[in-house]
Amino acid sequence: MTDVAWIDPLLRSARPQAVGALLRYFRDLDRAEEAFQEACLRALKNWPVNGPPRDAVAWLVLVGRNAGLDDARRRSKNDPLPADGEISDQGDAEADIAERLDNSHYRDDVLRLLFICCHPDLPAVQQIALALRVVSGLSVKEIARAFLVSESAMEQRITRAKSRVAQADVPFETPGAAERAERLGAVAAMLYLLFNEGYSASGGTVHVRLPLCEEAIRLSRLLLRLFPGEPEIMGLTALLLLQHARAPARLDADGAIILLEDQDRQRWDRDMIAEGAALIEKALRHRNPGPYQVQAAIAGVHAHAAQAENTDWGEIDRLYATLERLQPSPVVTLNRAVALSKVQGPAAALAMIEPLAKPLSGYFHFFGVKGGLLMRLGRADEARIAFDQAIALAHTPAEAAHIRMHLDRLMKDSQPA
């Protein structure tokens, strides 16, 4: 470890709370970010000499706030500037602000900061990019790389997203219970999008995108630490952990997708599975089921099966039925059909997905599942048509390659021995 290596994780972990508090103070995202940036620069100068402050977040908020005020004064050319570093070791002021910025304040600050990134007018990718920039503090370059666009294109997107958010007028008062619940729901959805962006690798290569999954888990845990009694946030965190646990087994050496049933389950991350299971158990005690909890429970059933053939498909079918009730969607029904095909066979599943042909006419997985069911029923020609449609809709080379493998198998089976 070099001399200042310990500072980096400190600044990284302090960022959501510090920027959130500075945003409440300045009511302007750019000013809050600049103030935090300045505080970080002073920390890099000050901390190696004086050691870490007792409360890094409070230190950064105080120094950032003063830096922001200095900046405003410099612009108005009123008061003379205080000497640099004068504020940095005022122990009492630090303790004072730490007192006032207690946990209950921080949690609404962090929630607000995440929430403004979820503006409904912003497309999903912009929401995620904004959160990665503002909340996580990733550089524009890093974000651009994750989304496979040029740095200048990403810079533009983030700037546009910021100006959209600036007009949104998010209230800065402490939110009421209903308002808070609404914000939590929007933020949870955004974190799930962030995770999926990393998980589904729509376009990107995997090693670049795994950090997106890890960041989603970090922010989800942070949210749960701030709101420890929210069963849906437990469910979200559990869901992300249980899905991420499979990451080491999801792709082969060439980057091709390995289906759940073919994965080497020895390679699943047992620690993440155990933590996910613990969170599901906690959430269930609240007897207030929601979509994240049910999806986590489904992932939990898979994680529980040591072999694919031990999977309790009946339980998964029942859980999907619950999910259909809580959150009706053709994609949920499609997933339920997969479970049903294991319990009742491919014919029943095919009947279940028949009505989905229209709403899912542009959905890769619909044709993949349909082709698979037709193949099992021995209807090779129809299966081939479905697989061809799937390939046309594939987002990544890995998706297309996976379907081509089925096609090759069909070809081989249809050739005379």
């Binding site: 994780p9 972990s13 890890e214 630490r225 420890p228 009694g229 005690r285």
Partner: protein
């Protein structure tokens, strides 16, 4: 004397470590604890799941079950070691060795009773 080394750390920081940083800390610590184990000095060592996985039961006339750790402090108990040391002096040295280059806080507490039976031992 058997001592408990309670590892207290700012959880937000530990959760912000990358996998590589986390692995590096564990490997660094293992170099110290492996030596203690070789001398038969190391008892059970425990790393706890994040405090988000914690449930608190507060007994009273009506027991209350709460989500989360018992206290909302900046530094949370994230794990502990049980190590046999000849003196407090040695225990303090061991803590400094295990925690070298980290921002961890160790609370060293002499163990009064140590029961080890069944599966969890």
């Amino acid at each position: 004397m058997l001592y408990a080394f309670l590892c207290c750390h700012d959880e937000a920081i530990v959760n912000s470590w990358t996998k590589e940083e986390d692995d590096a800390v564990l490997a660094k610590r293992a170099r110290v604890t492996d030596k203690l184990a070789a001398r038969g000095k190391l008892g059970p060592a425990v790393r706890l799941m994040p405090t988000t996985a914690a449930t608190t039961v507060r007994m009273g006339r009506e027991p209350v079950v709460l989500d989360g750790p018992f206290a909302e402090t900046k530094e949370a108990l994230l794990g502990f070691y049980l190590i046999d040391c000849d003196s407090l002096e040695e225990a303090i040295n061991v803590a400094q060795e295990i925690g070298r280059d980290e921002k961890v806080v160790f609370e060293i507490r002499p163990v009064k009773v140590f029961v080890s039976k069944g599966k969890a031992s």
